[in-house]
């Protein structure tokens, strides 16, 4: 049995309602900001306030934003990573089930590491001893953990004064 045209119209209207809800939610949650390079977007949900505050004071603030280190540089890799991280961050924040303090995943650390080596290629090549290369090598952020966003004192002071 076929559905009458009137019902189909109502149905299309309903779809429109859902679409509208979706668009409004996206806008209300500042969804578009996640497609930009603005570091403020990363602290939208406040979980990364400390990292944002730390970045403001860290040595890389004038040369790199979050995306320069935390997503791959190529278009496809960048948006695929944003999509994947975006989904899981939203999922865990909405369900409030995540480890605290927050920690970078192995994949995220790999992306950051690759980006260190991309910008600092001359230094990285110069240091190309086996111990600094490959999956078992010493990673840059093992020692330079505070270049992107200072942790500890700097961030806790920033968090206190909010």
């Amino acid at each position: 049995m076929r559905v009458p045209r009137a019902a189909a119209l109502v149905f299309v209207a309903l779809l429109g309602v859902v679409l509208g809800l979706g668009v409004y939610t996206f806008a209300y949650a500042r969804g578009w900001s996640y497609l930009t390079n603005d570091p403020k977007a990363c602290a939208n949900c406040h979980v990364m306030n400390e990292q944002y505050d730390g970045w403001v004071k860290a040595s890389h603030r004038s040369v790199a934003v979050c995306n320069d280190c935390h997503v791959p540089p190529d278009f496809l890799g960048k948006y695929a990573t944003k999509a994947q991280n975006g989904f899981w961050h939203s999922f865990y924040f909405t369900t409030q089930t995540f480890h605290e303090p927050i920690r970078a995943t192995r994949k995220s650390r790999g992306i950051a590491e690759a980006n260190c080596r991309r910008c600092h290629a001359t230094v990285a090549l110069g240091m190309g001893t086996p111990s600094h290369e490959g999956p078992r090598g010493v990673s840059c952020i093992r020692c330079h953990s505070s270049v992107g966003h200072m942790e500890l004192g700097a961030t806790s002071v920033a968090a206190e004064t909010r």
């Binding site: 019902a7 149905f11 209300y28 949650a29 406040h46 979980v47 303090p101 920690r103």
Partner: protein, 471 residues
């Protein structure tokens, strides 16, 4: 409706898919709405963490009233009733039959039964009668009221300084003058003073009711830190105007977690810091003040009791040196929704490793716990050796005394006991099993053992003679 014909439209759908798609759409709409509401909630949480439903002023003593404005902090504060063990510390809830004199139905372990050497160390002093493991802040007033140290012995009102919320009653008793009220209660017997106090530590003891800023309210610390700063060349130090916010996050705890004594016949609570915070500075202070807590029952030595010097020990450790405050580990930031508050469930960081340690130390929880417990294990082992040595010295002095040795002959050994015992007790009564300053705790115990060795040597016959056979 313009076409009542039931004839199938070429673009119409059959009912089956229509219903399926409708269901999917409905679920999607519900999910999106749910997400929207969730986002709204989180945004609200982040926007305004504070609703003032009651007015607080400098006379608002009851923490439940403050809790109406700050329900999250208050909820956590109430949780200090928890009794939980760590490997070497913490307390265990032990059932007990209440009596008329002591209505407590739950207490913690009796330390002098667990380790009878403590009884020998404190022979002749109230601590040898009753000394239980410390419990959370919630129990401070109750446990002081019913300990045998207060029930069986006459104690001054001074004791209440650190076992109750004192700010409001002190000011009332002093007609608005905190120090006058403090002095008045110091002079009273404990039982009489006790009647004026209702709450264990409360919000007002650490917070300014108008701004919520941290504030030192206990006279003992106000005067103690002033004396300490004066010794460092800073005259007239006023902690409430001169300290940084990060310093205050330790100083409010240092109001009570310190070594102290009662000075003179006025029983004025005094923190012995005028020569510094290290154990030897404190002993020198007591030497010059000519202060003795009690005469040891077995040896006749003029002995001292160390009292939970957490603030002093912490001040000698790497965390203090790195600017880490008490509250950073014992009240770490905790997230509630989109809001971050300091955790008012004050407890051992070993019960909260992720929030307390991992903010700075990026290692797995098990690894961090293992590191802390290794420090504690080493300290506890050395503390055991030091206690054995002390008990041996006490035995030797007692034997010499029973054999008829004069006070002059025993003087040096008794002095060694006085100093060594204070050192051992300084680590024993300090509530971190060495963690607050691992090397300092070890150093103190090593010095104590050396002092005991020297004390025992003074009891030996002259070197020309054969040493006494050891029993």
């Amino acid at each position: 409706m313009t076409d009542p014909s039931p004839a199938p439209s070429p673009r119409g759908w059959t009912r089956g898919p229509f219903i399926s798609i409708l269901a999917v759409t409905a679920v999607a709409a519900a999910a999106i709405t749910g997400l929207l509401v969730n986002i709204v909630e989180r945004k609200q949480e982040a926007r305004n963490p504070f609703f003032r439903v009651v007015e607080l002023d400098d006379d608002t003593e009851d923490p439940a009233t403050w809790g109406k404005n700050f329900p999250l902090q208050y909820d956590a504060y109430l949780r200090t009733v928890d009794q939980q063990r760590t490997r070497y510390g913490g307390s265990e809830a032990l059932p007990r039959s209440p009596t008329e004199a002591d209505p407590r139905s739950v207490v913690s372990q009796e330390r002098i039964e667990e380790d009878p050497r403590l009884r020998t160390m404190w022979a002749g002093y109230a601590f040898a009668v009753d000394f239980r493991k410390k419990r959370g802040h919630a129990y401070m007033l109750e446990d002081q009221t019913y300990t045998e140290r207060v029930q069986q012995f006459k104690q001054p009102g001074t004791c209440i300084h650190c076992h109750a919320s004192v700010y409001v009653p002190y000011r009332k008793a002093g007609d608005g003058d905190l120090i006058k009220g403090f002095e008045a209660f110091n002079r009273m017997p404990y039982a009489e003073a006790r009647k004026s106090f209702t709450h264990p530590i409360a919000c007002i003891d650490c917070h300014d009711p108008a701004t919520m800023a941290l504030r030192v309210t206990r006279p003992g610390f106000l005067e103690g830190i002033k004396a300490l700063k004066a010794s460092q060349g800073v005259p007239d130090y006023d902690v409430n105007t001169a300290a940084t916010r990060q310093e205050m996050r330790s100083f409010v705890c240092g109001q009570c977690h310190v070594e102290y004594y009662f000075e003179g016949p006025e029983k004025r609570l005094t923190y012995p810091w005028a020569k510094g915070l290290k154990v030897e500075n404190i002993v020198t202070y007591y030497q010059e003040a000519g202060f003795t807590d009690w005469t040891h029952a077995e040896t006749g030595a003029p002995t001292l009791k160390a009292q939970h010097p957490e603030f002093e020990m912490w001040s000698q450790g790497i965390h203090a040196r790195s600017g880490v405050a008490c509250a950073d580990c014992h009240m770490p930031y905790t997230r509630v929704g989109a809001l971050k508050i300091s955790d008012h469930h004050v407890r051992s960081p070993l019960l909260n490793v992720s929030n307390a340690c991992q903010t700075c130390h990026k290692w797995p929880e098990d690894e961090l716990r293992a590191r802390a417990e290794l420090i504690q294990e080493r300290t506890v082992n050395l503390r055991n050796r030091a206690l054995d040595a002390l008990v041996a010295l006490i035995g030797d002095i007692k034997a010499a005394k029973d054999a008829g040795a004069t006070d002059a002959a025993l003087g040096a050994a008794r002095d060694a006991q006085r100093r060594a015992q204070f050192y051992v007790d300084f680590v024993e009564s300090e509530n971190s099993n060495g963690f607050h300053a691992p090397q300092e705790a070890t150093r103190i115990l090593g010095d104590a053992i050396d002092e005991i060795r020297k004390g025992q040597l003074t009891l030996r016959p002259s070197p020309a003679m054969k040493p006494r056979p050891r029993s």
